[in-house]
Subunit: 393 residues, 2 copies
């Protein structure tokens, strides 16, 4: 196991109707003037935004509003949020929405206290030194942003998708009410589930040896998703299944299951170009990229893929031919994604094979290689994307 | 899933030689005058205490010393520590040792800022309102106290073992260096492993339905312990196995795997009377009590025990007779404990059947019942202890 630090100071406030307490938690964590940042109409129509406002009102905490966060959140709205925070002397950001909304809030949080352009943090020209405190009311189990210090934002000019990370961007508290996710369309639920599983797989495929405890913890989350995702697709109001998925999504990405081991984030990196170019859902892009990536890299460690196949998908181990087991595991994962309604190839995603050179160009690897489980060149990424074009069951 | 809050703000500093950084972390978390609290000779002899002192010296942080913590830490030393902290204006406690040392430090931490008798917190007459900040350098994977707000202390007058818990007692940081555990005798290593598994089982046996994610996370820790414990017993210097156990011990007890479900702490409660009376190791007492408790309660939920048997110990499911599978799982657990060198009955522990009335009297349940997976009366506890007397493989 590699040396590591693990620090997850977020207070998770989990369960039915807990959003009604968010005023109390804003107060606990020192907020006196709040920016409520949210997305589109669903938080308004469902009455959630009104409940959040009422909760702040009951604690006499004033607030300003900024809605309009889109999936793949844009820099343009973040600039607007930064201006608003400065003008209104906001000292706490309350993010009401999914991962995009939280990531947008993180951009505002670090930008509001920075003299330069907040994009510097995403462009890796600067590291976050201070940020406004954030609280969240999560409306979809997916990104894990409610428990992480990471944020992914899209620069509208050129649709460049970039990320930053800092412990200062970890939310002070996150309200997780599974009820709020019951009204999600099946497609969005499935996209969220795929993102959660991808967060685990990016940690699971490691070159660090003998990391049984984090292997087993990763498998625990994957097994949960394999069991619970079809249940909520079939029965959207199933609170218990929603609750299991919601806690799985947080544990998947606060890194308690990924510490002390090398990780691989190449599927995420490749997918970011797809959702950057086509503005598709991140989870849908991952459903297309991740199995295609697996097919490209599995020979690097056949036994690890065989372990995944047997422990997560219940494939019988073929002791005479472990490669067969490894491939059966990848097939089982793609089959699972298809069964929950995810696209599994370019056509189903609405992507085009002829765009592959553009996607690689935007990825920006040049003659270099990525880091990860298997280091990838531009040519390797091309092969993975070609796998994704022709993927079928 | 039940509503819950989860809050684990401890910074975990994990890996080789990380104790040399503890001065840096004391400074980060605001300590300017430190009490180094430690146990017996091993921290001195191994040079660990000198390295900790050197680390504080390098940050110019002054300190006072208080050693002498015994297993099942006593109130008498805590009173001494409280006096010392007040006299020396200590504002940070650095605990160098195992669970007993950390629990003793927590007693000092809450007592030093309290006008009354610190025992009030353990006697449930008062709840902790403030406490000195604590850091730890852990020397045995076992109690999980390095990541929890709980503390168990023994009142020397009458050898009463009682506990308290507060988020204010969660350490600010905990240094986890698996190297420090390589010199532990096999018996202590096995006692620690048993304690870790017991912390999981106390959460695993629940009356809350459909909690797949925490079920799977519990099983992940148990599977890790089943694999790694025999490895370190056979090969004490195996760093990777030690590292897996150390992280498992922390995750087992910071409650991320136990949230949202009813828990059962009756085996711990019964064991506390054993180690209170005989001053035996807590883990050894648990090895005797917990399987005996399982034999008494398994009929309450045969399928949960069958799940444990198949998922954790790899027993084949007997679909015609799940009770047979459940019993095979309990047998497998006791066999495992025996194989790692733990006592499995009263005689092997050095306990006496004729003391059972005394143990029950001290447990203090009277005509009432405990809370938990199965509520226990004094008569039930007597039966469990009788199971423990006659237990064999």
């Amino acid at each position: 196991m590699e040396n590591f630090n693990f620090y997850s100071p977020t207070e998770f406030v989990f369960g039915k109707e807990r959003e009604n307490e968010c005023g109390k938690y804003v107060k606990k964590y020192g907020g006196t003037k709040v920016l409520i940042h949210y997305g589109g109409g669903s938080a308004v129509k469902s009455g959630l935004l009104d409940r959040v406002k009422a909760s702040l009102d009951s604690e006499n905490i004033p607030y300003v509003l900024l809605g309009g966060v889109k999936p793949n959140p844009r820099d343009t709205l973040i600039y607007e949020g930064i201006e608003l925070c400065r003008k209104e002397n906001v000292d706490f950001i309350l993010s009401v929405g999914g991962g995009s909304c939280i990531d947008s809030s993180k951009g505002i949080a670090c930008g509001a206290l920075y003299d330069g352009d907040f994009w510097d943090f995403y462009d890796k020209k600067a590291s976050v030194q201070k940020a406004l405190p954030i609280g969240t009311v999560l409306t979809i189990a997916a990104a894990g942003s409610e428990g992480s210090g990471a944020s992914v934002v899209t620069k509208e000019d050129g649709m460049l998708k970039r990320d930053t990370s800092s412990d200062l961007l970890r939310p002070r508290f996150s309200v997780l009410n599974p009820q709020l996710t019951c009204t999600l369309p099946a497609y969005q639920t499935a996209c969220g589930a795929t993102d959660i599983m991808a967060h685990v797989f990016e940690r699971y495929f490691t070159n660090t040896k003998e990391v049984e405890v984090t292997d087993r913890l990763c498998e625990a989350i994957l097994l949960t998703m394999v069991k619970e995702t079809p249940r909520v697709i079939a029965d959207p109001d199933n609170y218990e299944a929603r609750a299991n998925i919601m806690w799985a999504g947080t544990v998947a990405h606060n890194d308690i299951i990924g510490v002390g081991r090398s990780q691989d984030w190449n599927s995420h990196g490749i997918e970011h170009e797809l959702s950057g170019l086509y503005d598709c859902a991140h989870g849908a892009g991952l459903a297309v990229v991740m199995p295609a990536w697996m097919e490209f890299v599995y020979k690097h460690d056949v036994m690890r893929f065989a372990q995944m196949a047997t422990r997560v998908f219940g494939c019988p181990m073929n002791f005479e031919n472990p490669e067969d087991t490894a491939l059966k595991g990848i097939y089982a994962f793609r089959r699972f994604l298809h069964d929950i309604g995810m696209p599994i190839n370019f056509e189903e995603l609405g992507a085009k094979a002829e765009d592959i050179p553009v996607l690689i160009e935007k990825f920006g690897i040049g003659d270099g290689q990525t880091w990860g489980f298997v280091r990838l060149s531009a040519k390797d990424i091309e092969e993975i994307l070609n796998n994704a074009v022709k993927a079928k069951l």
